[in-house]
Symmetry: C2
Subunit: 255 residues, 2 copies
């Protein structure tokens, strides 16, 4: 039985600005890595928080001066005005502000709560973690560095937890990737009898992100998960990245 599997990598230290994340991952995987963990056919799935921390995509609340607009929204939605300001700074558009939730369109084009800014703890923490400026580029650089360190180039996927418009709860999705086709297009392909094989256009990278999040054990902090058994989707070139998953504005029926 050809099985698909995912395991979290344990032992990663707290990540700080400037850390060589790829090197830390290689250290955690052991030497040599077991079972093709960082091999050419594996997918290394990384929660964006550690990528953001490593590249310094962190904002100290003490440095933030909220604008009038941020103060107004904060009052309406019951939030910290400085945290709202950070969300505004990380948004190209606020799509909705209601029920204490800000739904943003980020500069990358992602539509998500709070522009992906971790504001859950704004009252207690001094720092907010924001999305990397270019998560696809982060994925490509991590992949290149893994190749440099080990000789192998697993696919790299960077994830975040997004809510959904009509469903409760969150699932992880891909916000950056390298070495994997983010979408698998079966639309219109037919079998020998002329019947459509599968009327679908599969968001492979998002499904992998969701799967990887399940491999994290409950209370632990395990930002890195190794997925194996999807070698059919892992490719030598870095590919279009997760931006291919962003629906263009002209196709958005829910602005």
């Amino acid at each position: 039985v050809a099985a698909l599997s995912a395991s979290s990598l344990s032992g990663l230290p707290e990540i700080c600005r400037g850390d060589d994340l790829a090197e830390l991952i290689v250290q955690c995987a052991g030497s040599p890595p077991t079972d093709g963990t960082l091999g050419d056919q594996a997918i290394v799935v990384i929660a964006h928080k550690v990528v953001s921390k490593a590249e310094g995509a962190v904002i100290a609340l003490a440095d933030v001066t909220p604008t009038t607009r941020a103060i107004e929204i904060a009052l309406e939605q019951g939030k910290d005005p400085r945290a709202v300001q950070v969300v505004l700074d990380q948004s190209q558009e606020i799509v909705r502000a209601a029920n204490g939730v800000l739904i943003s369109r980020t500069p990358h084009g992602f539509v998500c709560a709070n522009a992906g800014v971790d504001t859950s703890n704004a009252a207690h923490d001094e720092e907010l973690i924001v999305l990397p400026r270019d998560p696809d580029d982060c994925a490509r650089r991590l992949r290149a560095r893994l190749r440099e360190l080990t000789g192998s180039a697993p696919a790299v996927l960077i994830t975040d937890s997004f809510g959904r418009a009509w469903r409760e709860g969150q699932c992880d999705v891909a916000i950056g990737c390298a070495g994997i086709g983010p979408l698998d297009d079966w639309r219109g392909r037919t079998d020998s009898a002329g019947r459509e094989l599968r009327a679908t256009w599969l968001a492979i990278a998002d499904s992998i992100a969701a799967m990887a999040d399940l491999a994290r054990t409950k209370s632990s902090r395990e930002p890195v998960v190794i997925v194996q058994g999807l070698e059919r989707y892992v490719v030598a070139e870095d590919g279009p990245g997760a931006l291919a998953l962003v629906r263009p504005l002209e196709g958005d029926l829910f602005r």
Copy 2:
């Protein structure tokens, strides 16, 4: 390493109305099933198409007389009026009709393209497969029947492929489930230092659905996938079902 895994079950025959799906799954799993495949800790993930077929949730286009509204929408959106009529019949509301896509709210409350009706092939096929009337009940009955046949009660999850408002492609989500908590709520839980452990409300059942779809090989038809390694989410009671994943109307910011 505690790994999460998924494998598709091969050998399931074409499913017809009245088939005992649980019995066919047991037959395919072998006797005794290997590696806890249908054990109390496994999750049996089933694409809804076979569930719909088994319960006769299939509509012959020849039996459909389109209303004026269906004919109008069909003309506007370039669709078969009879297929549009079936979508209208399966919707409590058409949320959007644009770009050749109908976004429906189904009687269950799911918001998805074409009310989950498989219209991709309407021009060639004589039958359309619709969603089961009560997918949670289907999941509970399948689970009870598996218990009857094998003495074990794996969790059962019924899935469909849904598009997303702002992302290209589709991911599988749970439309019915039994024996698994569909959501895992970490909101507000804190560690001993008073820091929030994880600011998330995880849509476990949807992540499992997405994962299971990855275990299907490309060209084959494998509606049943066995997921193992998530025993922490499998519970003896059937639980609230996938309806718990539907966001109530009053929380919908995108009507």
